[in-house]
Structures are given as C-alpha cells and as structure tokens.
Symmetry: C2
Subunit: 266 residues, 2 copies
C-alpha cells in the first residue's frame, strides 16, 4: 500500500479536493483525509490496472509496478485495502468536521459513485469492451464511445474529488453543481492531453513503456489527430475557467490546475 501510494504521481485528485474545499470557504487542511481518500482510490485503480490480467504493465511512475515487486496476490490485496481505507478516511474526515448525517452520507455516496460501477470501474469495463472496436466504427460512433468511456474512467473520479471538497465545506447545491461542471471540462481535457502526451511525450518523463498507439487503442490523438485534439483540450480548459467566475479569487488554484492540465509534460 505504501509502496504505490508514495511512488509519486501528480496528486491531481487530492489537489482538486483541497482546492474545491478552499474555493467553498473551508481551510484546505481540514479536507486532508478526504484528499488522501481520493489518492488512495486512484492508486488502487493503478495497481489493479497494471496487473497481468489487465494492462500487464511493468513500470508505473518510473518504478516497477506493485505486482512486479510484491507479486500478484499481494498487489490485488494492496489495492483492495487501499480502496477500503479510502472510505474509512473520508468518514473520519466527516466526523472530525462534525458534518451532519445527510452530508456525511452524501460524501461517502458520491465518492463511491465516482469510483464504482457507474464511475471509474464502469469506465474501465467499457474501455475493455471497446478494445479493438475503434477500427470498425464510424468516426462519430468512435467519438461517442471514447467520450462515454472517459467520462466514467477518469472524469467521474475527478468530479467526485471536487464535489467531495465542496461537501466537506458545506457548500450549497448550486456551488457543487458549478464545480462539477468545471470538473467535466478539466476531466475530459486531462484525458485528451494524456492521449496527446502518449504520442508526442517523453517516455522517460511519463515513466512508462510502450504506448496506446503501439497497442492500437482508440484515443483522441488517433481519432482527431494531435493538433485538433490539442485544440479541443484548449477549448475545454477555456470553458473550465469560465465556470469558475462566480468564485472570484478563491478559485485561483483551480484556475492554475486547468492550465497545468494542458501545459504539463508528464
């Protein structure tokens, strides 16, 4: 659990939790346990995705993958325990802040929804199901499939991260909805940028071997070409900025995060 959780990474999801909490008037330090929850969920998903039965990856964040170091059985269990711990940590956070029953339940429910069959895991299943289908579909159908996969596979947990921060800050529904709209834009932009990096990026900085292109996967870069994909990501980031207007200067970190998503090199 520690090996993979502390292997580095961008810490995007916990940063989103903290920034959303701050944006809604809570000291971000008071959202740390939930920020950790979201990173635990992201990390567990990477450990399981890297398994031989799934993507069969040897390297992650520039280090040998969990199962390469500890064996497959331990990697499955480390992932399971991280996912479980995530809910414990979020519940503790709610209790520490003295949230009421409805908000506490809502926090757990929204994180589970973003991470589970309707969210991240469902997206992974849809991705496996779509494998090899790319070449057989029309461009419009491929675009719809791609967006449906990523809305769940990466988008749902990004939205849950923001919403979790907002719930911890006792934000009203309207604020939560605005942050989720921002999340939909940055989530999709993030995935498009990932696909572009997979083509033009530095393998060393990305810390992985092989690429989606080599594996013949349907990606934004293969579907639209690198330039058009970049343009799409930029437009989404602009839309993300626009959603933040009503938050004023408290949203400065979320503005920076939106820009970082398309400017990063790993």
């Amino acid at each position: 659990m520690r090996y993979s959780l502390f292997a580095g990474g961008k810490r995007l999801r916990p940063t989103l939790v903290l920034s959303a909490a701050e944006c809604c008037g809570l000291n971000p330090r008071k959202a740390l346990k939930t920020a950790a929850s979201l990173e635990m969920i992201h990390t567990y998903s990477l450990i399981h995705d890297d398994l031989p039965a799934m993507d069969d990856d040897d390297l992650r964040r520039g280090k040998p993958t969990n199962h390469k170091v500890f064996g497959e059985a331990m990697a499955v269990l480390a992932g399971d325990a991280l996912l479980t711990k995530a809910f414990e940590s979020a519940a503790e956070n709610a209790a520490d802040l003295g949230l009421n029953g409805a908000r506490t339940a809502e926090l757990v429910r929204l994180v589970a929804f973003g991470a589970g069959a309707e969210g991240m895991v469902g997206g992974q299943v849809a991705d496996l199901a779509a494998e090899g289908l790319g070449r057989k579909m029309s461009k419009a159908a491929a675009a719809r499939t791609l967006e449906a996969v990523h809305r769940r596979k990466t988008g749902a947990l990004i939205i849950a991260s923001l919403d979790a921060g907002a719930v911890l800050a006792r934000a009203p529904q309207a604020r939560r909805a605005t942050l989720r709209r921002y999340g939909r834009c940055v989530g999709l932009a993030f995935q498009i940028a990932d696909d572009v990096l997979d083509v033009v990026g530095d393998k060393k900085k990305l810390g992985k071997r092989g690429s989606d292109r080599e594996n013949g996967k349907l990606t934004y870069a293969s579907l639209y070409g690198v330039d058009a994909a970049r343009g799409k990501a930029r437009a989404l980031v602009e839309a993300a900025h626009a959603h933040l207007k009503s938050f004023g200067t408290r949203a400065s970190v979320l503005h920076e995060l939106a820009d970082y998503i398309i400017e990063r090199d790993k």
Copy 2:
C-alpha cells in the same frame, strides 16, 4: 457482480446485520441496505480469493468461479465494484434512517475497519504469509498464528456485521460491545467448523474441489484433530449464547445462528 452476488451462499453476514439490528430494537427491514453491503464485501473477497494469483479455485458455491466465466480482468473489476458499492449502500441506509453525522461516519468506519488492512484483507495477507510455516512451528506458536489469522480473516467482518446492525439501531456502546463479544465467539467457532467440514464434509454440498488438507494448510482440524476442534467450537458457541442473555427473546435469531454454525453441513 450479479453472477457472484446471487450465486447463493449462506448469507451469514447479512443475517447477522439484520439480527443485530432487531436485537437492538430496529425493524430488520430497515437494515437491509447495510445487510446487502456486508454480503457484497464478502462476495468481492471470494471473487478475488478465487483468482489464479490467489487460491486459483475453479468452483465456488457449486458454480464456476467468476474469473472462469468472465475472465480475470472482469473478475478483478467486479470485485472492486462490489466493494465500492458496499459503502454506497451502507451510506444510503444511514441517510434513509436519518442517522446523525457521528453514527453515519461510525457505520462506514467500522465496516471499512472490519473489511480492510486491519481486518479481512489483513487476515488474508497474514494467511498468505503463514503458508507453509505450520510444519516449522511449535503447536503453541501455530495455534497463536492460526487464531491471529482468523480473527482478522473471517472474525473481523462477522463482528463488523453485528456492530453495523447495532449502530443502525442507535444502540448504546455497552450493547455494541456485548454483540461484538458474541461475534468474536461465533466468528472463531465458524472458522473451526469450516476446518472440520473441510475434513469430514461432503465436497458436493460444500461446492468446492480440493481441500485445505490436500493443500497442506494449517487448520484447526490439523492442529487439534477433528474431535478436539469440534469440542472447541461447541465451547465457543456456549460462550456466544451466554453473551446474549441480556437481550432476552429479541436475540432468538442470534441464538439459532450460533447453533447453526456448528450443526451445518456446508
């Protein structure tokens, strides 16, 4: 998810949730979503335990194991999604009942604790670590190892099931502690009975191939012999009955469950 969740099974953990809730004065129907949570967690653990990298089992509850039907990748994901859904379902239950923030957080926390690194998953890790050690240890050391493994591997989730039912019923700490003591006894008795069944039981009724004995595993039957192990289980069940005294007739299902544990044939 459905394939494994609805493959049958004894439904021990959900029955414990419902019975504990009833025992503490709540209509058991109002604890159904949490009862389902505990069965989802138990089922996910079976799916992952059966994987080739773990116990590599072909049969479970008399049917082909999840990965035999859907493949390893889907089995990993089905387990992940069931575990995630479990927390969603428990949180919904708390919200439906209008539990306050502290009780809602406590429900999620105690289920996660019983299921995670300090509970069930930790017990599974300890079990893997103890593999093959049985022959090298003194009888006393083997007994300590065995009990430490099972206290977490099966005991922790059984205790969590009872405690979850009690928390839903807004039970005071003393009642919760009494139910947990009952749980410690039935949990251990359940495991001992399992080990005895593995030796004397009907493979067909148990719905599995192979046995722990054939795999050279350390079990209560191998450590104490079948007769002494049976005696130990009976003594634990007696102790379990004694813990229920203060609950009166409301504990009738929990009394029956304790007896069932040593009388069952699968």
